[in-house]
């Protein structure tokens, strides 16, 4: 699990150290294949986005990375070792935190209790306190509502809470699943600005989005998924100009 500074080509991606790589991943729900041979890599310090339409297998890929689903074939390698067979809590402990699709905050707990649960596996009380401050700085709205039941927050606030809760696990790699879902445009901008800030503070981000335009604006590199396979990949700036992508996903 040591982060090597090896110069072998397979350990480098886009001039960065590979933090996470997924190779030839196949994931099935029963007999239905949701992901069919996806290969991707995330370099340290990048924002990588996985875009595609509904049902393309984006969320499934993310859930496989965080250990919620077992792949049928293929491997997930994080900092040089395979995590495909690890249980979810070991993956969180290794530094991969997941902010799930549909937010899935704990509605009957307060904002503070939700954030505390994000730090469930951590034993460094001082670090947790520091991260709580950091999250509340990122999302001042949560500070105002800290003792409120999370179920009473607005959709945007719940999304902030979902992201903040994942950050409380002190992730090296943050997995974000559809953070813009159901949010007003103003809030989408706010969330994506924050994602950039999070990256600038040193956390690598793998972002799954249906809102391809917003995702490409913030990301460094993008993979386009369609029906469980990789359709396209490239630097986000190039893909945003790509005709095919524009037509299919950006409504152009």
């Amino acid at each position: 699990m040591s982060a090597t500074t090896d110069d072998r080509p397979e350990l480098r991606v886009r001039d960065r150290e590979v933090l996470l790589s997924v190779t030839d991943l196949y994931v099935h729900y029963g007999n239905i294949a949701a992901v069919k041979g996806v290969t991707l890599a995330v370099g340290t310090g990048e924002i990588v986005t996985l875009i595609g339409s509904n049902g393309a297998g984006k969320s499934t890929t993310l859930r496989t990375i965080s250990g919620l689903i077992r792949p049928r074939r293929g491997d997930v390698v994080y900092r040089g070792s395979s995590i495909a067979a690890l249980p979810g809590h070991r993956i969180v402990a290794a530094g991969i935190c997941h902010s799930p699709e549909g937010r899935r905050i704990f509605p009957r707990m307060t904002v503070r209790e939700n954030l505390d649960l994000g730090a469930y596996l951590r034993r460094d009380a001082a670090g947790v306190t520091a991260d709580l401050d950091r999250v509340l700085d990122l999302f001042p709205r949560l500070k105002e509502r800290i003792d409120q039941k999370a179920g009473t927050l607005s959709g945007g606030e719940q999304q902030m809470l979902a992201v903040g809760r994942a950050l409380m696990g002190d992730p090296t790699l943050l997995l974000l699943d559809e953070p813009s879902m159901g949010l007003a445009p103003v809030l989408v901008d706010l969330i994506f600005d924050t994602i950039r800030t999070i990256r600038d503070q040193g956390t690598t981000v793998l972002l799954v989005e249906q809102n391809a335009l917003a995702a490409l604006r913030v990301a460094d590199y993008a993979y386009v998924l369609e029906s469980g396979t990789l359709k396209l990949e490239g630097p986000a700036r190039d893909l945003a100009k790509d005709e095919e992508v524009t037509r299919a996903y950006l409504g152009g």
Partner: protein, 425 residues
């Protein structure tokens, strides 16, 4: 128990106006919480002391009319049953109320606990003669005779072990399937005891005859303070003290665990299992812990029950007992220990005494001859339906539940979530 009811209504009335509000009154929520924290333990202790003083010292001196009234409506044996059932309900609440795992076979742990008491506190295993601070009846020295105080933790641990054995393969199941498996487990264990008089020549449970009588409870050093040296079948008032102590232990343990890390993990699993696992909560281990703690409390409750009725018999452990316990948890307010206690005390009183005596009174008044106790499930069913219609959160709901049932979930109400369902499976 009437004394506990008074503060209950007080708090609820005070809460009444605060609950309808939005989440803005955080300070109010906290103050209410602290008030509830103090009132219930104090009320419980006070009620216990009052009951003890009343039955031990006042009633024997009271005029015949008064003591007859209490003998009829609230005899000591009924109070003891209520307290023991409340202990069990608090144990089941750990599994159902805290961790959100529906358990329809909780009676199995009760049975195991009862039989551990039967094995270790009677002359049943006549082939051995072991006495460790036990109090065998004169002439019954053969068999295993351990002290009641030792049997309690042993039975608890044995049940916890069984909880883990049963839980390990089944807890991977989703809620409905888990409920079915626990239902089967609750049926199998009593059947094993019912038919266990000859397992390859070994008598495990004495079959339908059950194991009886049990050794009396030794009181050790307290004998010097005027407590009888050993508590047999007729020392019900003193046994009440012991059962209250056991119930207090169950309440204390579940409240302490709830406030800690494990309790938060249970809560998270109950709220959203998938999200909890994303936070790094190890699902299996955490659920097994809930099972083990619940089973431990069920086990000590089983020992208490066996000592109260003076033996164990397989037919005491019917499926209906699991359901009654579940009804107690739901009626009282899932997740709130004090609510569950209250629910258990009320339901068990109806079950063991109240309905029969009320029936007699009604029969006398109208000149009919209806067998009211045989309608107890009708009454329970009616109570549950009324509760679901008018007070879904239970008599004394958990603060969290109360708020969510009264306040709409704003985030969830947004249309975006409709789309979510499509991709989830």
């Amino acid at each position: 128990m009437a004394t506990t009811a008074a503060p209950a209504t007080d708090t609820r009335v005070k809460n009444g106006d605060g609950t309808g509000r939005g989440g803005g009154d955080g300070a109010g929520v906290r103050r209410r919480h602290r008030l509830g924290d103090r009132i219930w333990p104090l009320g419980f202790a006070l009620a216990a002391v009052l009951v003890f003083v009343l039955y031990q010292w006042i009633l024997p001196q009271a005029p015949a009319g008064v003591s007859d009234f209490f003998q009829t409506w609230l005899p000591m044996s009924t109070i003891n049953q209520c307290v023991i059932w409340a202990t069990m309900a608090v144990g089941l609440n750990v599994v159902v109320g805290y961790a959100g795992l529906l358990d329809l076979g909780y009676v199995a742990f009760w049975a195991i606990g009862g039989y551990v008491a039967g094995w270790l506190m009677s002359g049943f295993f006549g082939q051995w003669q072991i006495n460790f601070f036990g109090h065998p009846a004169p002439g019954q020295e053969s068999g295993i005779h351990l002290s009641f105080w030792l049997v309690l933790p042993l039975a608890g641990l044995f049940c916890a072990l069984w909880g883990v054995i049963i839980g390990a393969p089944t807890l991977r199941l989703k809620s409905d399937y888990l409920a079915l498996v626990t239902l089967g487990f609750g049926e199998i264990i009593p059947e094993v005891f019912k038919n266990g008089e000859n397992i390859n020549g070994f008598n495990l449970s004495n079959g339908v005859k059950g194991i009886t009588p049990l050794d009396p409870i030794s009181t050790g050093p307290f004998a010097y303070l005027g407590v009888p040296e050993e508590l047999g079948p007729f020392d019900e008032t003193w046994k009440f003290v012991i059962y209250v102590l056991i119930a207090t232990f169950a309440v204390f343990v579940s409240l302490r665990i709830r406030e800690g890390r494990l309790g938060r993990a249970w809560l998270a699993i109950r709220e959203d299992e998938l999200a909890a696992s994303m936070m790094g909560v190890p699902l299996m281990r955490t659920k097994l812990a809930a099972y083990a703690v619940g089973a431990f409390i069920g086990g000590i409750g089983g020992v208490a029950y066996a000592s109260a009725v003076g033996g164990v018999a397989a037919e005491d452990f019917a499926f209906s007992s699991s359901i009654i316990l579940l009804a107690m948890v739901v009626l009282g307010g899932m997740g709130n220990v004090w609510g569950v206690m209250l629910g258990a005390l009320v339901l068990q009183w109806i079950n063991s005494n109240g309905l029969a005596k009320a029936g007699e009174a009604i029969n006398q008044a109208v000149g009919k001859d209806l067998n009211f106790p045989s309608y107890n499930f009708l009454v329970f069913g009616a109570i549950l339906i009324l509760m679901m219609l008018f007070r879904r959160e239970g008599l004394l709901p958990e603060t969290r539940t109360r708020q969510v049932l009264r306040e709409p979930d704003r985030g969830g109400a947004e249309p975006a979530d409709a789309e979510l369902e499509g991709e989830r499976r």
